[in-house]
Amino acid sequence: MTAALLALADSRLPAGGHTHSGGVEQAIVAGLVHDPRSLEVFLRRRLVTSGAVAAGAAAAAAREGGGAPADRRAGWARIDAETDARTPSPALRRASRQQGRGLVRVGRRAWPAAVWDDLPDRPHHPLALGVAAVAAGLGPDDAARAAAYLAVTGPATAAQRLLAMDPITVATVTARLGDEVDRVAAATSTTSTGISSRTPPGTSPGTSTGVSTGTTDGDGRDPDWLPADTDPLLDLLAEVHADRGDRYFAS
């Protein structure tokens, strides 16, 4: 189903992505992005942080697609909440949910399927991507790849427009990040369910069993946890951008 993946990752899919710069507009104002090299650095840091989070959530959402309707509804609601927790910036939450809604709008018609009805209202974009992948007959790996790829191409196009860069140069920058896109997407396949199965704290946390030891990987990370890599710089840029009255992009 490669063609469906290409369609899903196509920047011309009318899902509203073109009105979001992924932080590039503010990064340009802040002097952080001004030429191809600085653009590549910016895209790389975005890819390995919010791109990795998006890829992880999209893959997890796609994995939930096979379940019974009630299960996948619950699963997608959990992934939506997990994505919220990984997106504390109100501006970035807004941008993600706007793009999620846009993708649902086109996805519902382009790949009609009953699964769309199990999505929460205004889902985060990666969650919508995962569900679109399910509807289009794609798998979790494809969903992750599309999410990671879009984390780079949206801002790249925005930079091209804002800085009037040579489009061939920008295409080159994007192509050079291809391996890293694949690596970020592949890393998400190591998380199994994507959701911590740990039970919420009991009503009597004082018992000596109250603290679960859990299992962790070598990094001390719960292997059930979705990627949560974050870049505080992107949060700051997004919030400063949201306060501006004069801007070309919604985020």
């Binding site: 073109h18 399927a113 009255g245 919604a250």
Partner: protein, 228 residues
């Protein structure tokens, strides 16, 4: 046979509930045309003239600032909660034609906020003569040019001039000053528009935009008849 998932709940994937003329809810009127031709002035005029009789709202597509939205607010032609500004990502053309998501969000937000809404005006960010609205976004579109650009504009054509549902040639008061021949413009427009209407107006002289308002009322009536 299409794959199974295409058959779930759906009879025909091309059956478009939002297709032109079939959409329920408010009439959506696109206002397109080059920068400075008078789109915002026309939107303000229509709000003033139709505001008393219709439940209406406006979506603006400023390129960089929220100037158009601010103008409408400042001149208090509409309460704040009836004006939505969208960012167009440096590409106002894309936002009304190729990927209308942001504008649909704005329209749907206004519809949700004002359940009785009858008319939504969508003003495009000024673009050149090739800009036109997707009918996924609007039901009808008005293309606004002005005489200041010279009387050759209608002859030059472009989808806005030739295919819009209404062509408005604004600022006729300036015609003598710029040496534009209104008869030439009227004749050229008729030649390329295949019978679709053209109005030559001056918002300076008629701030109520009487003729354009009458055309909008006519659109509302014919759609009501269609849905009846």
């Amino acid at each position: 046979m299409p794959p199974d998932h295409l058959l779930d709940d759906y009879v025909d994937p091309y059956d478009d509930p939002a297709a032109r003329g079939r959409r329920h809810g408010p009439l959506r009127v696109g206002l397109g045309g080059p920068v400075g031709s008078g789109k915002t002035a026309l939107a303000a005029a229509l709000c003033r003239t139709l505001g008393a009789e219709l439940d209406l709202a406006v979506v603006t597509n400023d390129i960089y600032t929220t100037e158009d939205a601010d103008f409408l607010r400042r001149h208090a032609v509409l309460p704040d909660d009836r004006i939505e500004a969208v960012q167009t990502g440096c590409c106002p053309h894309t936002a009304i034609r190729d990927d209308i998501t942001a504008n649909l969000d704005a329209v749907e937000l206004l519809e949700a906020r004002h359940p009785g809404l009858e008319l939504v005006l969508v003003e495009s960010g000024g673009d050149n003569l090739t800009a036109s609205f997707s009918y996924g976004l609007v039901d009808v579109q008005v293309f606004v040019v002005d005489v200041a650009g010279g009387d050759k504009v209608p002859r030059k054509g472009g989808p806005g001039v030739t295919a819009s549902d209404l062509l408005v040639v604004n600022k006729t008061d300036l015609a003598p000053l710029v040496g534009a021949d209104l008869d030439v413009m009227r004749r050229d427009a008729a030649a390329v528009r295949g019978g679709k209407p053209t109005l030559l107006i001056s918002l300076r002289e008629d701030p109520a935009a009487t003729e354009v308002a009458a055309w909008v009322r006519q659109q509302l009536r014919s759609r009501a008849a269609q849905h009846a």
